[in-house]
């Protein structure tokens, strides 16, 4: 077998797929706290620890998955799998990320139908939420620094923040930001 340096041998490819499966199974089991926390944890694994993607590339994936409907963090997982391992990686990442939750939920659903109520988790959730806030902030800080590339983008970010607090829908804010930036660029060039 002759391979130019840098190209992936089938063996590399296979170990890539295994890495993808391992990572997203792990995330599927340990990623508590909703989409924002999942994205924070994925950034730590994929950008900081494994360096599969650059910070900018990861940021682009966040933006892009926000533009399409559907659960953002699951789509991030699928997307990262695709970047790393092609269509096989896409399927494996998505499947591994979703499966643990589905199995746990399935068991709870079965218990619920037998007992008619949920287990008491309140005492455990109590301390999880404040920790999740810290996890999200720690991931969002470098991403925010990366995303605000100009004064204009900084202003757009602040306006988005205000609109979101005022209760505008996410779709309006996301597409509004994009078109506002285009309009701004057009005004500057005119």
């Amino acid at each position: 077998m002759h391979n130019t340096p840098g190209s992936l041998t089938p063996k590399d490819h296979k170990s890539n797929l295994k890495d993808i499966a391992r990572l997203f199974l792990k995330l599927g089991i340990t990623a508590f706290g909703g989409p924002a926390a999942h994205i924070a944890m994925m950034r730590h694994e994929v950008v900081v620890k494994r360096q599969w993607l650059s910070e900018q590339h990861f940021l682009d994936l966040i933006g892009a998955t926000n533009l399409i409907p559907g659960p953002n963090s699951t789509e991030m997982a699928i997307h990262i799998g695709q970047e790393r391992g092609g269509w096989r990686g896409l399927l494996i990442a998505g499947f591994c990320f979703i499966m643990p939750a589905v199995i746990i939920t399935g068991c709870l659903a079965w218990l619920y139908r037998s007992y008619g109520q949920l287990p008491q988790v309140q005492p455990f959730v109590y301390g999880i939420k404040p920790a999740i806030i810290a996890v999200i902030l720690a991931a969002i800080y470098p991403l925010a620094k990366k995303s605000i590339q100009s004064v204009e983008l900084g202003i757009i970010g602040i306006v988005c923040l205000v609109l979101c607090f005022l209760g505008y829908s996410e779709v309006v804010i996301l597409f509004g930001a994009g078109f506002a930036a285009l309009g701004w660029a057009w005004l500057l060039s005119a």
Binding site: V48, P123, V125, Y126, I133, A134, G176
Partner: protein, 190 residues
């Protein structure tokens, strides 16, 4: 007299029966058009399922709670609902329905994204969308804080978690979250 009725009932609830088909289509639709957070999912399922008497509102509330306190995607709530309506086959069909669009969207978006990144107009657009996405995550953080920070215990957990994460960038956030749960539980006992 009873036999055909029982047969009909069994048929309707079989794997490819009308109950599963309508579950599949409802969740396929939601997976394909829903933007944003779990709160939107709640409103959607409320009008789609509770209003049509497929599940009760209490079942929906419990389903959403389960999706939030289990790891992985919040949309695993749907597995729970599918199970309540039609057992294991309902759970499987509903899960496939809600996540299928995400796989398709990312498969379509991913090659497009690479091409468009070299387009100047699209880059302007995406940069602004990235900033908006970060703003949305910040607002999620604020909402989490508003719901969960009360009293010195939760503040202590949030601040200590943040200090650890910002000082030691290699720390796995899963440890922080489990740590938060344990410390929170202990502090409640004090």
């Amino acid at each position: 007299m009873f036999l055909p009725l029982a047969f009909l009932n069994g048929d309707a609830k079989s794997f490819f029966g009308p109950v599963n088909i309508s579950l599949f289509l409802s969740f396929l639709k939601i997976g394909a058009i829903l933007y944003g957070s779990g709160y939107v999912l709640f409103a959607f399922l409320d009008s789609e399922l509770v209003a049509h008497g497929v599940i009760s509102r209490q079942q929906l509330i419990d389903a959403i709670a389960i999706g939030q306190f289990t790891p992985g995607p919040v949309f695993s709530s749907v597995t729970f609902i599918g199970f309540q309506v039609n057992g294991i086959s309902g759970a499987v069909i509903s899960t496939i329905g809600i996540f299928l669009p995400s796989f398709v969207f990312v498969a379509l978006l991913s090659p497009l994204l690479k091409k468009m990144r070299s387009n100047k107009l699209f880059t302007t657009f995406l940069n602004a969308v990235n900033v908006a996405s970060i703003a949305l995550i910040l607002v999620v953080c604020y909402q989490l804080g508003r719901d969960s920070i009360s009293g010195w215990q939760t503040i202590l957990i949030a601040v200590c978690s943040a200090i650890i994460l910002f000082r030691f960038k290699q720390v796995n956030s899963a440890f922080i979250i489990v740590g938060g749960a344990v410390v929170g539980y202990l502090l409640l006992l004090v």
